[in-house]
Amino acid sequence: MSPNVLALLPEIILTITGVLVMVAEPVLPAGQSRKPLGVLAILGTLAAGFASWYQLGFGTIHAYFNTIQVDSFSVFFHLLIAAIVLVTLLSSLDYFEGHASHAGEYFALTLFGATGMMLMTCSVELLMVFVGLEISSISTYILAGFRKGQASATESSIKYFLLGSFATAFFLYGIALAFGSTGSTRIDVISQNLASTATPTLALLSLALIIIGIGFKVSAAPFHVWTPDVYQGAPAPVVGLMSTAPKAAAFAVLLRILFSGFPSYEPRWASLIWIIAALSMTVGNLGALLQRDVKRMLAYSSIAHAGYLLVAYTAFPADGIASACFYTAAYAAMNVGAFTVITQIGGYRENVRTIEDYSGLALKRPVLAAVLGFFLLSLIGIPFTGGFFGKFYVFSAALHAGHVWLAVIGLLNSGIACFYYLRLLASLYSRRPAIEDNLFDGITVTLPAALALTITAAATLLLGIAPNQVLSLAQRSAAATAPGSANSTTNASR
């Protein structure tokens, strides 16, 4: 296999599956179930995951004139994205059944979006990053508005779209200035040329703009304003996807840009990240306290988690990457899991919205409630869950790097976070007032959804009791991206 094909194997598999699903969609008669297409998409995702795993054995592959670099870092994120997409597809296999007439397009868009995200994580050329970012963003904009009969869904879509494009403009401006300052858009060349640039302020400005752009995409404060509205209006399985996969990809890009592109500017961007992290944690947790709508609350919670994750970035160089990777994985497992439960409870019409609506769930659906409760505990960071080790690694990395105050802010925030998670948890196990008692009657957990729940719950548990496996992979990926090893020539010259 030529290195070019090998390097792009997962993306190629995903694209081909997406095209197949897309082409099959209009061929199928109108009334027929679209489940087979969903199954096809799931198989494609699985294949892409295995392809990524297979790439691991080849070390670092450079392909397409050094526009992409497949290393353990990118494979880590490929696997993560494939897993998230897999769970999302499983949980939404029955979601559109009997509601939207063209569910095949949903599956195709999810696959294309995953292609874009994977490309983002493995490219070392900012142009490629940009194109990948746009593929993933545009497909998530569309997915957010997929239930277009609902006014709230289109509203969520337009808000996501406008603010996302706004952020893209900033990101692009950042790239333009980086290009102006260094004369290249390749991350490794940028890092080489930065040393000799005549315009360091320009490079700094470009870095700030890039961080703003990505900050929007990962919904870090103060660029988070779109998050609550969008998460509230979009379909629950899509929220599960877009609160994790594109964010993971964007975090990977940020890691690459900061750690391999701008390592020499570390003190400056670290302080910027410090502020953003602290703000995100605080704003997210305080905001979540005030919410009644569960999806909205989880939106604020995801802002807070973006903050925790950014804490890891301040721990330059190696500790940060590993802990950030681990945290991303843990966060993805528990968040996707939580949204899978919400998908099952709310159904297509999503008529179970507020925290009060959830009261009494444990009586009617004890297993579902228990699983949701488990994810909530993990989101808090209780031991024996993935969330605990994630936070543990992140904060210890920050302490190692000397950011004591940031760790303190983070811990305080974790304390605040307990309140709202526990409020929902308490609601689950409380007695339900006798209104609308048929709210949970329509819930049927189908086999794929059960599978999705099992996968996420198992992953969360596994990360909580045996984190070493993932941690070692994360450390390997860190080794691939850390400023020293990403570019051996640079290393040699220092």
Partner: protein, 168 residues
């Protein structure tokens, strides 16, 4: 010559942009934006990117903005009315944009020496052609982004169909 071009079309672009900001009817805003884009096309040409200038006119003014005008006409969007939200936006928008502008232009002007000046003699008087050069880079070094763009366009087509189709 080039300075004259820059001054004329730069001012035109700025005037267009300011008019874009001030006009309240979407059609007028769209037309001002077209003026900006056309003047930018001239500036691209004056920077030696004549192929890009043509693409700017064909793609941006000729296709993207036509779509905008088309949608404005289709939805018969009227003048925007002022709501309380717009007043709040003024307080946030104007200072924010001014701050960005000041920061950027401060950096650009302080680094002005490092950027140097345009050297356009061979571009304006000559009929050199950078298309071959562009295709060299585009179809070799940046082949992958070029190919991946097809996925992007596929997504966009699919999305436009998904969103604009009428629900049965």
């Amino acid at each position: 010559m080039q300075l004259a071009l820059f001054i004329i079309f730069g001012l035109l672009a700025v005037a267009g942009a300011i008019n874009f900001l001030l006009q309240r009817h979407p059609i007028n805003s769209a037309l001002s934006l077209i003026v900006v884009m056309m003047s930018l096309a001239v500036l691209y040409w004056s920077l030696g990117a004549e192929f890009l200038a043509a693409a700017q006119v064909i793609v941006y003014s000729g296709a993207v903005m036509v779509l905008f005008v088309f949608v404005v006409m289709l939805l018969n969007a009227g003048e925007e009315e002022r709501t309380h939200g717009s007043r709040a936006a003024y307080f946030a928008g104007i200072p924010g944009a001014t701050a960005i502008f000041c920061l950027l232009s401060f950096v650009f002007l302080t680094n002005g020496k490092a950027f140097g000046s345009t050297d356009l003699i061979n571009h304006l008087t000559h009929t050199t052609n950078n298309i071959a050069e562009i295709s060299q880079v585009l179809f070799r070094d940046l082949l992958l982004p070029f190919e991946v763009t097809s996925v992007l366009i596929l997504v966009a087509i699919l999305g436009a169909v998904v969103l604009a189709r009428k629900e049965q």
